[in-house]
Symmetry: D2
Subunit: 403 residues, 4 copies
């Protein structure tokens, strides 16, 4: 029986060319699988047909948008996942979902090889292959760009030689990955890290500098999941779409940073993630109101590790599961409403309210109604500072104080 | 000999009234010490005279602005110190400096008691008294607001009764603490956490929503210290003043949050810190460029602990010294320039360059000049994912996989 | 109606004297509640009667041994809880259980006050009162030793004056707290930290220096819970009793340390915890075999925080719940057998086996059967070291290398 | 000019055979460099000569024992470095030192290639090559065992074919690496992790089960460095040698564990490290006495990271430097004496004293002389537990409490 290779298919030049090329190189039939994670752009039916036109034995498109929102974006938001305090893990989140569907397709179509379009210097190859190793260790993997040193020029020449139905004339200067949770842009002129991005780089966000009226939005969370926007019930997918639209229209969520890749190099990245940034901003403040202090302080380390782990391609690791168990426990009472002002590139919290609030007006107020017993403070202060006091006295005694 | 009490004097109602009151209560002479940490406002000579007019035996004003900038604000910036990811520790930074000068004054004037104006439900009492315990454990401490349940109304009545030279008619609705590093505002209507701040709350920042042209500024750092603005050499103090002015004019650095106090309650706080936010933003990005990945990841935990420790009043603890030793080591190469666009309430990095950069164009580029050996990736990816792969295989073998 | 005070009753001098004293001081009826957490010693019926003889209105003894083992000791073992890497939290674990039963008794008997025998310089007062604050914030608390500066001498005088049925002649030089999980001893001569403990200090453990044959024991765990000893099914309580006996007979589990108390001072403590040390030793090694590396590394921080939190009296904090959720997730596959040699004060793992093992003979062996593909290593090594290599090259370039 | 390869030479079969083999394969001259890190065994002059007899162009032996002790073992001890809470990093510590000397030899002899004997599935290849990448990125690396799939059988056949002056008849069943800091043993029958080690495995330690008298030793530390044994001044090297001898004679420091290798697999390892375990035990207890609580708690995470980093081959990483800066700061007052009882496989602290002690008898004692103000405790306890109390009240209010 002919071997079958399941190809993660985008509809673009590289993976279209890969269809006949993989068939040639391996003698296998190619099964093209395109997964909709909210990247928008082209019609999926057209993508499906193109794969067949390029010679795929089978072609399938899968709408995974709700699944992506609920099972990947929401957990990231609950972890306030911002790699290096900035990047909301746009591409890093979609890869494990794609892997899951590739593995399912390999089972369905009898595939023994999986192929993806990643290069050998990025993070995505790790995310694909660590995921495949975890879910289906017996599948072989081919990454033409890396394993056959495939380049864009070679791909164009090959497409023309084979007469593939692909438009090779349009050459975007940008290398882009986008999905529901955001959009990543790399390009030649940004590789000089002194250069600022130009407006042309952005697609999810309007120019924040242009004058417009602010947009006030109220997001309702239930146990750490966004469930309503301005009082109207939404699925996680709908919440993200709506906030991408409204926060994007106000220029919220542009990011420009130098980032540490897993493969050991630093790279310059520009991102847009209006919905992600709006949701994380609101979620963090609702945590401030509803999560106890020691939990909040420890959760920072958990959140950081969660983001690094997922960035580093280890979605399917046992550690992610254990961190999620911690996070789930902390989210039981992260319920309530947060009001955001979206304007001029900023998503600013202007109000929060919650049945589960730990903010106690009586304890906090300096006005009438104060219930805080200030006489407790003296003893607290003394014992709180006692270890430092003893250490300072010791230092002074030994003449070693340098404060 | 008459005992002497050293009073941390602000020139305001509460501490002015405290002068005769402390004398009355303790029979001691009062030494008023006012410390300029860049809080602006009134002339220091006038403040000095007022203390004498209220009955102080001695009155001293100390210009500690350069010291505050160099020894307190800069270390905070090197630690990217943002308590709960937001608050740059404005008040928490000035307290230990004030304590240090109070202790010096006690030695100079023969004081045996120190007095401060903090209440019993805030963080500042802890910062004062933990600091005093470390630096001068033999000094007694009196906090009239806490220890004598002193209130504003009592203070006004007392001032009028004694005919003190204080204007008690002006009643600001706001409780404010401000210094070079920022400004904190609390007030009655903000104690309802659903209420948004109004424009009237702010003094360091212009309204970010008003139209104006962006301001582009280049900050030069040397070993993690800001040394020039737009190419002009500055002291840390000058850098902060300049960035307060320019970032403040663009509405940068407004913060509104619910915060976990050390004394165990949550409180609503509004802050402005234009210079601090601009500097930390620039500094973080320069770290992204010049600090190695494993250092950067570990430093996040160090930075978090630094911020919590200082927030919690433990500036003089041995742990702060040890964390600073770590941070100092990481800052040796945090040198270079960062260009910020200040506009519409945002401080956005648009360029960075450094002799000490770890960004390697040859390794990063996808264009001509690529020096990254992609053939290394395959082995890396396989071993990187091996532990997760083994765990997944185990889970599958035991039927316990739930991914 | 007469108020009622629920007293945590031990049967000893201090709490016996407290019965009439509390009645006197408060005018309330005293309900004595003694909780068996495996402290052994006196018969519970006799303790119950003594409380009545001292004037208690009601007296109840509660056998909480199985509950203590399953719900307090086992979670501690799963967290490998050793405060300061040494102390298995003996007293810290029993306090929240006692609190829980005191609260239940207050509800049952209509108590509005709770009383305990702790002093004001130890950790236990915090554990009692933080627990009471969490479970029953409306209950008042009286701690005679702390609140009335009650001392042993005063207690003896009072007992004699009142003719209480307590033997006050026996004066142990030791202050002891003991339960199923271990035994804590403090005493005057050990307050000189240069003095070594003498044999007389110990009760749970034989002298490890005496000659005897080793004892080999096999402990079976299921999902991180000990379920069998030498193949015989046991409850957690039975497992601990059996290992206390067998490990104690070999002198295992003696500890002598200077420890950081929550109240800010250092104290000298001697402990014995033969069963706890044997169980934690076995459990840790079974984790080494069955827990994936990244989980194991992160769990160390979780375990440390768990131990500190419980030591610090915060058993009922939300953070403990969230840490336990993490730990529970990691224990799903901590199943299998560990063989320990108990001898000469040491509990040494000599074998381990598990269906859920992640140890893979084929990958580990250097003999025939090796399945590890060594060709993968080269790429791994290169990319693993790349960030350090780039940083070293930078340092060399700038002349700043000091390695 | 002929290329030169610098070989890390041990004198054993594998690296002896590598001399002619490398020459053959590369056409280069071989420079054999043997480094004495206290591994004992054969005379270094004999080793030097053997390399020449096998065809080395140059042969050098370097006594690095004092350097190893002072610059590698002592920092490890100050970090209480025990990988996975057990393993004192024996091999992991010597590799960077060897790398440093290989790089120096390459410079001295004009070498352009470095060669080592590590396989492709162990940690040591990473330690060698990450170190070489950091110190001398231009050197090429050859690891015959890994890169040419060189095995012991091949080596013996090759030695016989070439008539090399090596005794190939003696076949130890053990694979051993040993140095001043300890000894690591792997062997076929221990690859079954249920098997216990046999006495024959050990060389640094006597059987702990044999009867003998205890040995009491007093170790003096100055700023975290061992400077005297029983009052006699020693260098770090002498301290380790002496404690290896005395603790080894009592059977101290045997370890048997399943360990997570950097390359992603678990392996079974048996170690002996009598001096290391004795020193770390004493050092930890002196830290308990002299290091302030918050520092001690944070240092645990630093120590853990230090151990993992060095285990993982990243000695020359910038993070190690920054962690050491932290540790150095904490060790300033780790001065004093610790008395250990060495006996029956155990190193037990029986006394500690220090001018820099933070143990305060007056605060700790329950006897006459107590200076602790117990009245401070009430306020401390209340505010300490306040966040948990508020969270519990919230949970109860919402009906969600599950405690």
């Amino acid at each position: 029986m002919t071997e079958r290779v399941v190809l993660a298919y985008s509809g673009g030049l590289d993976t279209s060319v890969a269809i006949p090329y993989l068939a040639e190189q391996t003698g296998a039939e190619v099964i093209a699988v395109a997964i909709d994670v909210g990247q928008g752009g082209e019609d999926l039916a057209a993508i499906r047909q193109r794969a067949l036109d390029c010679g795929a034995a089978e072609s399938e498109v899968i709408d995974a948008r709700e699944e992506f929102a609920a099972d990947y974006c929401v957990p990231a938001m609950r972890a306030n996942a911002l790699y290096m305090d900035r990047y909301p893990l746009v591409s890093a989140l979609s890869r494990p979902l794609i892997v899951k569907h590739l593995v399912a397709a390999a089972k369905k179509y009898g595939g023994t090889i999986v192929s993806h379009g990643c290069t050998g210097k990025g993070n995505d190859q790790v995310r694909f292959e660590a995921g495949l190793g975890a879910l289906a260790p017996d599948l072989k993997v081919i990454a033409p760009a890396r394993d056959f040193a495939w380049t864009r020029d070679k791909a164009i020449a090959y497409a023309e030689e084979k007469g593939l139905p692909i438009d090779v004339t349009h050459k975007s200067p940008y290398s882009i990955d986008q999905n529901l949770w955001g959009r990543a842009v790399e390009t030649g002129f940004l590789e000089d890290i002194w250069n600022a991005p130009i407006e042309d780089v952005y697609a999810y966000t309007a120019n924040p500098a242009e004058p417009r009226d602010p947009d006030h939005v109220v997001i309702t969370f239930d146990a750490g999941v966004p469930v309503a926007i301005d009082g109207e019930t939404v699925t996680p997918y709908q919440a993200i779409v709506e906030l991408n639209r409204r926060a994007g229209a106000q220029g919220v969520g542009r990011l420009d940073m130098v980032e540490d890749r897993l493969v050991g190099i630093k790279s310059r990245e520009v991102y847009e993630a209006p919905g992600a940034i709006a949701l994380i901003t609101a979620h963090q403040e609702l945590e401030n109101v509803t999560v106890e202090r020691d939990v909040a302080r420890f959760k920072k380390g958990v959140d950081q590790r969660w983001g690094e782990l997922v960035y580093d391609g280890l979605w399917f690791s046992p550690l992610r599961g254990a961190l999620d168990a911690f996070i789930d426990d902390t989210q039981r009472h992260v319920s309530g409403e947060v009001r955001l002002a979206l304007h001029g590139g900023r998503a600013v919290v202007t109000g929060r309210r919650s049945e589960a609030s730990l903010y106690d007006f009586g304890l906090a107020t300096y006005d009438t109604g104060d219930t805080f017993d200030q006489s407790l403070a003296k003893g607290f202060v003394q014992l709180w500072g006692l270890p430092s006091k003893l250490a300072s006295a010791r230092d002074a005694r030994l003449g070693g104080s340098d404060k």
